[in-house]
Symmetry: C2
Subunit: 338 residues, 2 copies
C-alpha cells in the first residue's frame, strides 16, 4: 500500500480541483491511501460531493494556506500550519511516501528543503520533469527553475540524481544516457559553466553522451538532459508556447471558411487525438529531486485531470523507492570526487 499526502488547499482553485482529482485517482489505483491536508471541514464537504472510497482517506487538519504569490520567506516564517507544510511533514514523519501540492513553486521548494532537508552530497535540490518524446521514449529534463545560477558541480549532481531517478523508474535501463543541454554538439561550445560541466561529466562514471541541442529534445536518445534552472525553464516554456502557437494556427486554418470547416469535421477524430497527445495536463507533475522525501509539484492552474496526473507521478515515484536509489547513486558517483 502506498500512502500519499495531498496539499488539498494548494493551487489556484484548491479543493474545487483537488477533491475531484483525488476521487478519480483513488478509483484508478486500488493500492493507494491518501492523507488530505487542509481545512478539515472544507475537505469533508468537498469529498462528500465526490465518489470517494473514504476508507482509504485520512484528513489531517491544517489551519493555514500559502498564497500563490506569497514569498517563500514569508510562507516559511508565518505559515507553520499551512496545508503545504503539514503535507510535507507527513513525508518527514514517515506517514506518507510522497507529497503532492499545486501551491506556489518557490514556497513549496523552500518548505520542502526546510522540512525534509537536502540529501548529503547535494548542494541544491532541482526540479525535474519527463518530456514527451517520439517513439514512446521519455527524457527527464532538469533543472527546470529551482536554481538559476548553477556551478558545474551542481550540474553534475543534477546528472547523478536524474540518472538514478530514471534507473528507479525504469529498472531495465541500468545505465541511463546523460546529455548536457548546449548550443552545439562540439565539446568547445557553450558558456564557461557549461564547458566546465562537460569536462566534469566526461570524467565521471556516468553514461555521458555529450551535448544535446534543444532542437533534438523530442528525439534525443538521452534519458536525462541537464541544464541550469534558467535555461531549463526557458526550454519548458518555449515548448509550451510553441505548442499553443502551432495549435492556434491549426485552428485558424481549419476555421478559415466553410470548406475548411467541413474538412475539420472530417478530420475531427484525428485532431482530437493529436490534441490529446499534446495535452499539457498529461505531463503535469514536476519532481523535486535531492530531498529526503518525494515531493511532486502540480501546475497551479491545472484542472482535476492535470492534478490527477501529478498524483500518478508521485505514486510511481513512491512505488519505485526513488530516494533510496538516488542516495545510493550519490554515494557511488559523487563522493569519490570529493
Amino acid at each position: 500500500m502506498i500512502t500519499l499526502s495531498v496539499d488539498a488547499m494548494g493551487g489556484d482553485e484548491g479543493l474545487t480541483v483537488t477533491a475531484p482529482a483525488v476521487a478519480r485517482f483513488l478509483q484508478n489505483q486500488a493500492d493507494v491511501r491518501l492523507i488530505m491536508v487542509g481545512d478539515s471541514a472544507q475537505i469533508q464537504a468537498a469529498l462528500a460531493k465526490e465518489n470517494v472510497p473514504m476508507e482509504r482517506v485520512e484528513i489531517v487538519h491544517a489551519s493555514e494556506v500559502v498564497g500563490m504569490d506569497e514569498s517563500p520567506q514569508h510562507a516559511l516564517k508565518n505559515k507553520k500550519d499551512s496545508s503545504m507544510r503539514v503535507a510535507i511533514q507527513q513525508v518527514k514523519e514517515g506517514k506518507a511516501q510522497a507529497a503532492v501540492s499545486a501551491g506556489n513553486t518557490g514556497a513549496l521548494m523552500a518548505t520542502a528543503r526546510f522540512v525534509l532537508k537536502t540529501l548529503a552530497g547535494i548542494e541544491r535540490p532541482a526540479i525535474a520533469k519527463f518530456m514527451p518524446a517520439a517513439k514512446g521514449h521519455q527524457t527527464l529534463v532538469l533543472d527546470l527553475g529551482a536554481n538559476v545560477d548553477c556551478t558545474p558541480e551542481q550540474l553534475l549532481q543534477f546528472a547523478v540524481m536524474g540518472g538514478q531517478l530514471v534507473r528507479a523508474l525504469q529498472p531495465e535501463n541500468a545505465n541511463p544516457k546523460i546529455g548536457l543541454l548546449n548550443i552545439g554538439t562540439e565539446d568547445i561550445k557553450g558558456t564557461e559553466t557549461v564547458k566546465q560541466t562537460f569536462t566534469l561529466l566526461r570524467e565521471s562514471n556516468l553514461n555521458f553522451i555529450g551535448n544535446v541541442e534543444a532542437n533534438t529534445i523530442f528525439d534525443t536518445e538521452a534519458d536525462v538532459i541537464v541544464a541550469d534552472g534558467f535555461t531549463g525553464n526557458v526550454v519548458l516554456k518555449t515548448v509550451e508556447g510553441t505548442i499553443r502557437f502551432a495549435g492556434g494556427m491549426i485552428k485558424q486554418e481549419f476555421t478559415r471558411n466553410v470548406f475548411t470547416k467541413l474538412s475539420a469535421l472530417a478530420a475531427l477524430p484525428v485532431l482530437k487525438s493529436f490534441k490529446r497527445r499534446l495535452d499539457p495536463r498529461r505531463y503535469n507533475g514536476a519532481i523535486f529531486l535531492g530531498l529526503h522525501g518525494v515531493v511532486v509539484k502540480s501546475h497551479g492552474g491545472t484542472d482535476k485531470i492535470g492534478f490527477m496526473y501529478a498524483l500518478e507521478e508521485a505514486y510511481h515515484e513512491a512505488q519505485a523507492d526513488s530516494i533510496a536509489k538516488i542516495e545510493q547513486g550519490i554515494a557511488a558517483q559523487l563522493n569519490k570526487s570529493e
Copy 2:
C-alpha cells in the same frame, strides 16, 4: 537601386542553392543588383543554367571557400581570398549595401567583425532574427548565439540595436517595445546578469515593458526580446524542435489507418497551408547587428527558397538604411550612460 553581395559558394550546397535562389530573387525584385562572389567560372556556368537577368549581375572572383566546419581563426588567417570575405569586402568598400552568406556562422561573424569593424559604443555584435507571431506581429529576438556569456551592458546594447532595427524596418513604430527574456514576470526573477540587465533597461530611455517569458514569444506585444546568446539560441532551437515534433505527430495521426488517411485527403489544403505558414525557410536569414555594414546569415542547409528569403531580408535592411539608424540610436541612448 540596391546592391547586395552574395557569397555564392557558402552553405552546404554552394552554387546548387545560391544560383537558382538568386535567379528567383532577381525576378521578384526589379530594383536590385547582385555581386556574386566566388569561383567565376563556376558561377558563370551555374547562372547560365538559370533564367537570370545578367545585366543586373556582376561576378567578382574569389579563389577560396571557407569550410562549414572551419574554425573562425583558421578562416581569418588562411582564407583571405574566400568568397565569404570578399563578399563582405564589397560592403566595406561601399560597392554593396549588404552581404549574404550561408557559410559557417563562427567564421562569418569573425570575418564580418574583422572586415567591417564594430560600431562605436557596441562591444560585441549580436545575431538577431524576426520570429513569426500571431496576428501578423513580428518579434525580433537577439542574441541568438554570437555571445554566450554576456554582461548587462552588452544586453542593453542589444536592446538599443534591436529597437533601432525595428524602427528602421517599421517607420510607423517610433518607440518599439523592448522585453527581457526571463523565467518570470516579476522584477526579482532571473540570474544575476538578467536582474542587473532589468535595472539597466528600466533606467534607460528605451520603451522597456519588463520581463517576457518564453511561453509568450509568439503572442507577446514586445517588438524586441533581449537574451544572451546561449539562451536565445536555446529558444530558437527549442521552437524548431517543437514544431518538427508537432508536425510529425500530426502526420502520424493522419496516417494511422485508412479512415484517418481519408480525412487527411479532405484536410489536405488546410494541412498544406498550415505547413507553409510554419515553413522554417520563410524565416531564414539572421541579421548580424552592431557592425559597420549589413550582413545576413542564411542557414547553411537551406534550399533555394530559404536562401531567397535570406536575400529578401538583406534587401529590406539595405532599403531601410538600418545601420545609420542604429548608429543614431547608439549615440542617443548609450553614450549618455557612459
